[in-house]
């Protein structure tokens, strides 16, 4: 039985809206008669959650109806991009799953990758990355037009904006919705207890720098693109503008909520989760294969990983009053991490120090230079070899292309740094050109080393690691080795090694030769 004040009853809704309007809580731009659909229906849908974020963003900006109308053109274009993006995802995700599954099989065997499988995986992976990057770039380009519509103060608010779904609930939702939202939030917090961030300013600063470098390599939609140029903002935006959503927008919203007939959203989510698991497992295998653990290392490491996992599970399951204080928990995890590091050899620690999660392992892990192998030298040495023989105008072009690639990989450079880099490259190419072939052959590695771009990412990772050590927080060893997924991979690697699977595999192959 619904009470008169229940937000689910019509009278209740009207009552709440009257109260909110009278108290001035409800902002003027949002028509008072409508409660956002996302709140009215359910909150555990990703689209609804994003719709709430978008609404919160619109409210925070205090967007006017005129501004909303001015934005609609960009919004429509963005909706078209989102629909295209979904269709592309529908095409790519099954291909990715197929390629990564084959790649995972080879990773598990630890006999190196066949060129076909490796090439195909890299191709699909890059295609998926390119699709994501293109969507983000397209949205960011549209966002430029939206920034122009905003006033200076709105721009400032947008730049500093942090999503606050709770604020939307406080404005609109009734007690029942709030209770449901609180319940969901609690569940999420229980599921991910370690997610809350440390308030260490130094660590945060280093993390933000790292984030900006990653962002330069693979752009992500900016705040406007995330909250306004999304199908999730369609309802609030069109309501505010007082116009009906056109077909293209409705299609995008449907695509976002349900997917397409051939590729429903449920399957898309399932595929995403499969891909996530595949990538995580491949990454674990890359590390396990690259570290060459001996039989006597696998046992202790698996045990330590299980202990760390037990500790985390116990913490998650315990009632709040029985939980260990965060500091104590971290201390215990650090102890386990140090124990794991004592099991590793110096060479393995060195590999771990430089390791970055990856799909296709880097050359030093996958196929290190072998004894007696006349390697071709590094990428930069080969570049120098080419550049030193070219005329000046071609050298200029090569240098510009090189700088573009570096910016794409390592993040943007300031004008002074750019000029310095250009000079350094010019100088090195000139020195290489002045050398005779013999001198160059003997000095090319050193010359290449001299123009090695500064790997700020590596430096920042090392800084973050050092800060964590200093503050007694678990670091990379804990992150990469002490989890149940890695323990499973390690156990499997151990059993594979005992069974000498490689030998059995080789026997039929030889007969084919």
């Amino acid at each position: 039985m619904l009470s008169a004040r229940s937000p689910q009853s019509i009278i209740g809704r009207l009552w709440w809206i009257t109260v909110l309007v009278a108290s001035g809580t409800l902002p003027a731009p949002i028509p008072a008669g409508e409660m956002p659909k996302a709140i009215r229906e359910k909150f555990n849908d990703a689209h609804d959650r994003q719709a709430l974020d978008s609404l919160d963003f619109i409210l925070a900006l205090g967007l006017t109806a005129d501004q909303a109308r001015a934005i609609l053109r960009q919004h429509q274009a963005a909706c078209r991009l989102h629909t295209q993006g979904y269709l592309e995802q529908a095409e790519l995700q099954p291909l990715e799953i197929e390629a990564y599954t084959a790649f995972l099989e080879e990773s598990r065997r630890n006999q190196g990758f066949s060129p076909e499988v490796e090439h195909h995986t890299a191709q699909i992976h890059h295609r998926a990355i390119r699709a994501r990057d293109e969507l983000a770039e397209g949205l960011n380009a549209l966002a430029v037009g939206v920034w122009d519509v905003l006033t200076l103060s709105q721009r400032q608010i947008a730049a500093d904006y942090k999503p606050n779904r709770k604020a939307v609930f406080e404005r609109f939702a009734g007690p029942q919705e709030r209770r449901k939202a609180d319940r969901l939030a609690r569940r999420r917090a229980i599921r991910n207890p370690g997610r809350h961030k440390t308030c260490d300013p130094q660590l945060e600063k280093a993390r933000k720098k790292l984030e900006s470098i990653n962002q330069a390599a693979h752009p992500r939609p900016d705040v406007i693109a995330r909250h306004l140029l999304t199908p999730a903002a369609a309802e609030s935006l069109h309501q505010l503008a007082g116009v009906e959503a056109p077909l293209v927008v409705r299609e995008a919203v449907d695509c976002r909520r349900l997917g397409t007939r051939d590729y429903p959203l449920s399957r898309c989510r399932e595929d995403q989760s499969t891909l996530h698991k595949l990538r995580a497992e491949i990454n674990n295998w890359n590390l396990a294969n690259g570290m060459h653990f001996s039989r006597d290392q696998i046992g202790p490491l698996v045990e330590l990983a299980e202990r760390a996992e037990d500790l985390k599970t116990a913490q998650r399951r315990a009632k709040p009053r029985d939980r260990l204080p965060r500091k104590v928990l971290l201390e215990k995890l650090v102890e386990l991490e140090l124990a794991a590091e004592s099991v590793l050899r110096p060479g393995q620690l060195e590999v771990l120090r430089a390791y970055l999660p990856c799909l296709i392992p880097p050359k030093n892990l996958k196929d290190p230079v072998r004894v007696g192998q006349a390697s071709d030298g590094t990428r930069l040495a080969n570049w120098l070899e080419r550049a030193r023989r070219k005329p000046q105008w071609r050298v200029e072009r090569l240098i510009e292309r090189m700088i573009e690639r570096e910016i794409a990989h390592f993040g943007p450079m300031g004008d002074a740094a750019l000029e310095q880099r250009r000079l350094a490259l010019h100088d090195t190419v000139r020195r290489a050109a002045e050398m005779n072939d013999v001198e160059f052959a003997l000095n090319k590695d050193e010359l290449a080393q001299a123009i090695q771009p500064e790997n700020r990412k590596e430096q920042l990772i090392a800084d973050i690691e050092a800060l964590r050590r200093e503050r007694r927080q678990p670091g990379r060893t804990y992150r990469f080795l002490l989890n149940s997924d890695f323990a499973a991979v390690l156990s499997r690697a151990g059993s594979t090694r005992r069974s000498r699977v490689g030998w059995r595999l080789a026997a039929p192959l030889r007969s084919r030769y």
């Binding site: 065997r109 630890n110 006999q111 190196g112 570290m291 060459h292 001996s294 050899r345 110096p346 060479g347 393995q348 060195e350 590999v351 030093n364 196929d367 290190p368 230079v369 072998r370 004894v371 007696g372 192998q373 006349a374 072939d437 013999v438 001198e439 052959a441 003997l442 000095n443 590695d445 090694r497 005992r498 000498r500 699977v501 490689g502 030998w503 595999l505 080789a506 026997a507 192959l509 030889r510 084919r512 030769y513």
Partner: protein, 380 residues
């Protein structure tokens, strides 16, 4: 101008044509062996030291146990020696195709000046036909078909000195195939008080080997397997010649010796054969000769096989240790315990390596810091 008939015209054209062709061919050929002119062009060929003249401008090469018998104009099996008018010439003299600065660990040498940089020189050609050769682009090609540097021994020494390198290495291709150049360069290096090391397949006659080893400080010999069948099938030579070379080096020279055994799955990974091989090493060379077990990577003509499983390498190391060999290493896998040097007495870690990189060297003087056992090798 007189009138000539068709027959005379063809005869004149034919004569001039043939003459032109002959000039071109001789010029090319002469240039390729460095005989077309005198003076500077002669620098690219040198008469071989070990061969026998036979009747009718035929010669018999005496460098490796294959003993190629070559008619005039024929090239040997190694692609790097040629019979020109009854005289045996080494092609590719002063023409290295590879010139690099590498760590000595890449030879591989684990008991020779750890971490020292070497100037590695290689000339095209090889007297072996290993199916898994990882430098086949250079070793299975004639020296004059490769892109080369022009480098006399004196120039090489000068370059090394300028670069601050004190060790010359012959690696990547077979030094036996360019023995004349290697020997002259090694002699020049000795004169300049530099060290010389070499990596070889060891398929060479004792006399040329000893002649070359006079100038060597260390040598790594690839004992690629321990059955005649393996050597004949995979390397195209006989095991006997290699074993003889290893014994010659150990018994008749002061040169530091290390052995490499590349384990190819299904070909030479039989534990019983590995045990036999280790037994032979123990009996003939002693227990202190370092033995490297290398991981095979699909290459050249053996791309159908997988990489050597790490368990196989570890088992081989176990077998070698059980037989009594004291210094057993694994290569082509890093990081791995088998990359490091341990004291055989107290098991202290002496040199920690990550591939070719020295992470930690606790015995710069060649002595275990804990039990003071002298570790054999060249440390200073």
């Amino acid at each position: 101008m007189g009138h000539i008939d068709r027959r005379d015209f063809l005869a004149v054209v034919g004569r001039y044509g043939l003459g032109g062709c002959a000039a071109c061919v001789l010029g090319e050929f002469g240039a390729s062996v460095g005989l077309a002119g005198t003076g500077s062009s002669r620098r690219w060929a040198r008469e071989v030291d070990f061969y026998q003249r036979l009747p009718d401008k035929t010669i018999e090469c005496g460098v490796c146990p294959r003993h190629c018998v070559l008619d005039d104009g024929e090239t040997g099996f190694c692609r790097s020696r040629i019979n020109v008018g009854g005289r045996h010439y080494a092609r590719g003299y002063n023409q290295p195709c590879i010139l690099r600065v590498d760590p000595v660990e890449k030879v591989p040498l684990s008991h020779f000046l750890p971490g020292v940089k070497t100037m590695t020189v290689a000339v095209g050609g090889c007297n072996l036909r290993c199916l898994y050769c990882q430098n086949w682009q250079h070793s299975q090609t004639a020296p004059d078909e490769l892109k080369t540097f022009e480098l006399t021994p004196e120039q090489a020494i000068e370059s090394a000195r300028r670069k601050g390198v004190r060790v010359i290495a012959f690696n990547y291709t077979e030094p036996v195939a360019f023995l004349e150049y290697a020997k002259d360069l090694a002699r020049a290096a000795r004169k300049a008080e530099m060290r010389v090391v070499a990596a070889t397949g060891g398929y060479v006659e004792p006399e040329p080997l000893l002649d070359f080893a006079r100038y060597l400080d260390a040598i790594t010999i690839g004992l690629k397997g321990y059955t005649e069948d393996f050597y004949e099938t995979v390397c195209g030579v006989r095991l006997e010649g290699v074993l003889k070379s290893i014994q010659t080096i150990k018994r008749e020279t002061d040169c530091w010796l290390e052995l490499v055994n590349l384990i190819v799955p299904t070909y030479n990974d039989n534990p019983a054969t590995i045990r036999k091989m280790c037994g032979w090493i123990r009996r003939n060379l002693g227990v202190t000769v370092p033995l490297h077990f290398s991981r095979f990577v699909p290459m050249y003509r053996l791309t159908n096989l997988p990489r050597t499983p790490i368990t196989t390498l570890e088992s081989a190391c176990d077998i070698a240790r059980r037989v009594g060999l004291k210094y057993v290493y694994t290569s082509n896998i890093a990081p791995h315990d088998g990359n490091n040097t341990y004291c055989p007495k107290c098991k202290t870690s002496l040199i920690q390596r990550l591939g070719f990189k020295i992470l930690d060297n606790r015995m710069p003087d060649g002595q275990c810091p804990k039990c003071h056992l002298r570790i054999p090798g060249v440390w200073k």
